[in-house]
Amino acid sequence: MSNIEVNGAKILLELPFGISITETQVNMWLVMAAIAAVCAWLTHGLKVRPTSKRQIIAEYIVKTAENFVTGNMGARWKWFTPYIAALFSLAMFSSLISLLGMYPPTSDLNTTMGWALMTFVLITFYKIKTNGPLGYAKSLTEPIFIMTPMNILGEIATPISMAFRMFGNVASGTVVSLLVYAALAAANNALFGWLPGILGEMAGKLPILQLGVPAILSLYFDVFSGVLQAFIFCMLTMLYIASAAETSD
């Protein structure tokens, strides 16, 4: 049985003041660069009368994103579309990057925590903007004063649950894949290792059982889960912010 070690992101660069650059940041930059490149490629040479498939795809993406945001938040939030689009694309491709065997930035709690804190800041900002600072403070003491700690906990729980939901899904996918892979290696060794002599040694090391199963697991944990979690994160962000900006009366 091999030793299984579950680690976080590799530290690639250590800078002063405790700043370090890890795989998380580098991979996220790669994702961002790829998204930027694709966007620039899709939107170069746009024409009023479209002649290229690229333009149709670009317009489709923009319209779909706008409909997604206005459908969930209302027409007055149309300006918010780029934020949701950035959040969705960054979260989704940061998870999907694991298909290339790279470390997914979304399996780093710092990433998802950062995005969730961003959502929390926006929620709180719109609550204060809509109800006024006093109204916001008062809403924390409702329905009775004694509930104040509970309400504050509830406020804080929102970003934490969002951060851990995404992190947990992506990171657990990595962990489960790792465990299954190790288990299959052990089973492979046990199944073919009894063959006599050098044949057994070789067959035991050949990854025969590891061929199919991890691919199916990866389909769920990397593709389905990655897309779904990005979607859920965006939906929650939109719904929380839209309801925060709604006048309570």
């Binding site: 680690n7 405790g18 996220m28 009023v48 689009a85 950035a86 925590m113």
Partner: protein, 169 residues
């Protein structure tokens, strides 16, 4: 700056990394705005304007065409009534002219008939005069032979004429 090989713990919190995640997200927002949303929205707006312009142009052209159609219909009507008028006056004039021609012809015919009648009357009279002269000469010569005496035509002229008159015409 130290390049280091090491790993973070599976579950670790690092304020700098959190800030970098937020910063990355905001940078991507700007990237998407600049490279995707702004250009596409610009082109969509331009297209909307072009479509609006096309529609208004079409409406304008249609109303112009309708106005011209009205004008042509009116002109056509005018031309029709004018043509009717012309035909009417022409036929009236033709009628009047034909009536005039016919009446002229009638008058001419009447005049000629009258002339002919007069000629006939004249000829008749002349013939009758000649006949009377020859008859009176014949009667005189006959009477001369009967009375064997010359009759002075001058003296008996009125007598003979009376006789011939009574013979009738």
């Amino acid at each position: 700056m130290i390049i280091m090989a090491g790993t973070l713990d599976f579950l670790s919190i690092n304020v700098w990394h959190i800030l970098m995640a937020i910063g990355n997200l905001l940078i991507l927002v700007l990237i998407l705005k600049k490279f995707l949303f702004k250009p596409v929205q610009k082109i969509l707006k331009e297209r909307e304007e072009e479509i609006g312009k096309t529609y208004s142009d079409a409406d304008k052209a249609l109303s112009e065409a309708n106005a011209e159609k009205e004008l042509y219909l009116k002109k056509l009507d005018d031309a029709k009534s004018e043509a009717d008028n012309m035909i009417k006056t022409a036929s009236e004039r033709a009628k009047a002219e034909s009536a005039e021609i016919i009446s002229d012809a009638r008058a001419e015919a009447e005049r000629r008939r009258r002339n002919a009648d007069e000629d006939i009357e004249l000829a008749k009279k002349k013939a009758a005069d000649e006949m009377r002269d020859s008859i009176s000469e014949m009667v005189i010569s006959l009477a001369e032979q009967v009375v064997e005496k010359e009759i002075d035509p001058k003296a008996h002229e009125s007598l003979i004429d009376d006789a011939i008159e009574s013979l009738g015409e």
